[in-house]
Symmetry: C2
Subunit: 196 residues, 2 copies
């Protein structure tokens, strides 16, 4: 069964975006290395350090589906119908957009909650993993015990304010195992299994 | 000149104590390993993993003075007159305690702010380091540009609430260099130089 992995870039003080939703302070590591790593979106190629490139290729090979929130979908313009990870995307929303004209795209709108989104994404991912790329959905999934691991791409900066990766958790504490560590440049990739 | 290093155990979501000031969820790594590491307080011996023991001995050898806040001093009962690190301690406070009966102890009360405490501790530490062991004093020192490095002992737990290591910073962002990493058991030791 597919593992569910929450994955975001986070500052050392816990933020995944600044108060205006900008990730400029956090995403430098995606674009300042010397190794080009293409994504499924031909307009988007990462430029990673050797270590991050190796790590990213493993992630790309392992992910079978992604779950995100409606805001990210809207901000990204629906990724032109194809998520950069090149896998089916499940968008958690209260209501599917009425003007979405790409019914053929591998994007599914889930209107009955995160547990349903996780179940659908797992069924699609098969023996690959399900990646959650949203702080709000990570929080809901942690509260429902649906997260198997947390992949933090820890960025060496203190932002001081913004949107937190982990906020308003209702079931505390969440105990994790020691992480697998990959040291990139401008980022430390930490993979923490959730202990249940 | 002595480097000033802020050092605390922190949960992955940024807390250094729970809402009742307990560090039970964070200090397990100090007492669950197989390697005894004595401190200057003969009543206190750490039990560390091999990796953390090696790391801790380096810290013990490198620290020449510590700075802490009044609350920690009070909670610790003044460490019986001798800080566990075995080095002079500088306690930042609004007013020195009137009932302190150990004028011979290597403990100095600093009533004129953190910059003064840092200057005094640096003069004492010589070519060793000054350790800050307080979130509140770390914040004040970061705001005044007095911190050279941040040593986070990152504990694999999400606490959800409590006292944050980095809170209400007034000068943002604080840019750090990539960390030195030592993987212990129940803790990841991360040493981040502050870029100025």
């Amino acid at each position: 069964m597919a593992s569910v992995i929450a994955n975001m870039s986070m500052s050392l003080d816990g933020f995944v975006a600044d108060p205006s939703d900008s990730v400029d302070l956090l995403f430098g590591w995606y674009f300042t290395g010397s190794v080009p790593v293409p994504t499924a979106d031909e307009r988007l190629t990462f430029q990673l350090s050797d270590a991050s490139a190796k790590h990213m290729r493993k992630v790309q090979e392992s992910v079978g589906a992604v779950i995100c929130g409606r805001r990210l979908f809207d901000v990204a313009g629906g990724w032109g119908g194809r998520h950069p990870m090149g896998v089916p995307a499940f968008v958690v929303t209260h209501e599917a957009p009425r003007d979405w004209n790409r019914p053929d795209a591998p994007i599914t709108f889930v209107t009955d909650g995160v547990a349903s989104a996780v179940a659908k994404a797992k069924a699609t991912a098969g023996d690959k993993t399900v990646a959650i790329a949203s702080a709000d959905i990570t929080r809901q999934c942690l509260d429902e015990g649906l997260v198997d691991a947390i992949q933090v791409d820890l960025v060496p900066v203190l932002m001081g304010e913004g949107i937190r990766f982990f906020d308003k958790l209702s079931k505390m504490p969440v105990t994790l195992d020691d992480p697998d560590v990959v040291a990139g440049t401008g980022v430390l990739h930490l993979y923490y299994p959730v202990l249940k």
